[in-house]
Amino acid sequence: MVEVVVFAVAAAACLVGAIGVVLSRNPVHAALMLVMTLFGIAVLFVAQEAHFIAAVQVIVYAGAIVVLFLFVIMLLGVDRAAELSLDALPAQRWTAAAFGLGGAAVLVWLVAAVDRLFKGAKSLALETAGAASAGAGSEPTDYVADVSVLARSLFSDYVYAFELTSLLLIVAVIGTVILARRSYGADQHGADGRRADQHGADQHIDASESASTGTTSEAGR
């Protein structure tokens, strides 16, 4: 019964947070609603014995990603209320409605299919356990996925993918630095005062760039 209560509270937090993200006018409120959803999901992870994933979820999502969102919101100064009424094109509203209804229909169908699948899987697992004659944790409910099991999987079966993620992170960091660096002409339409001195700084750094005004007008187009 405790599990049901935990699930209900966490699921309600998730759904309220998700709807809040979509409906809130202020991006800061949306980010905080996202935190609520992420914490609810972390609780659900704990309820499903995925403790390490829950910790990573809290650290990475709530600790890094949402902070990054808030940082960008504050940095750009876009934390004013957006006009929800002119937020969507009518065609997009219809597309969204179709997406929601179609998703709900697929959901109902899927749940029925999954229930059948689970029944089949359970009988299969029981047969396998019976054939192995000792059981010995081969029944699905006996399994405990602690960190060592996860680490063994991560560093044996998925070791190449794991190494590739480090490459991905390096690429992401380099790409972000290049993107977020104020480049020539990227801000031709705004931030006039900051542009001038930054422009001088860039010229100072890159001595080979001589015709900077021509570059600015071309790149800004």
Partner: protein, 104 residues
């Protein structure tokens, strides 16, 4: 015990609902930051389904996949926010509708 217990289908339904809500938000919102948050919602719905299946079938591979999804989501947010910063610096009030410079 009155027979009410948490079954895997509930987690799957919740994950699908999060995915649907995130998708709707992605379609109806115009603020690029909120759109990125909605992408995070969709990813979390999928993560929840992965963990539910992992728990149900006693297979740790689902959790491993969720770890990779987390890493890719972090990278995606970093690059996406870099793009948003670059775009919004150029035109501070831009919405997703205004970003049509590449339209043929």
């Amino acid at each position: 015990m009155n027979g009410l217990e948490v079954v895997t289908s509930w987690y799957l339904i919740l994950g699908a609902l999060l995915f649907i809500i995130g998708g709707i938000g992605l379609l109806v919102r115009r603020n690029p930051l909120i759109m990125l948050m909605c992408v995070e919602l969709m990813l979390n719905g999928v993560n929840l389904s992965f963990i539910a299946f992992s728990d149900r079938f006693g297979d740790v591979h689902g959790q491993t996949v969720v770890l990779f999804v987390l890493v890719v989501a972090a990278a995606e947010v970093v690059v996406g926010l870099g793009l948003v910063v670059a775009v919004l610096r150029a035109s501070p009030r831009a919405t997703a509708d205004d970003l049509s410079a590449l339209k043929g």
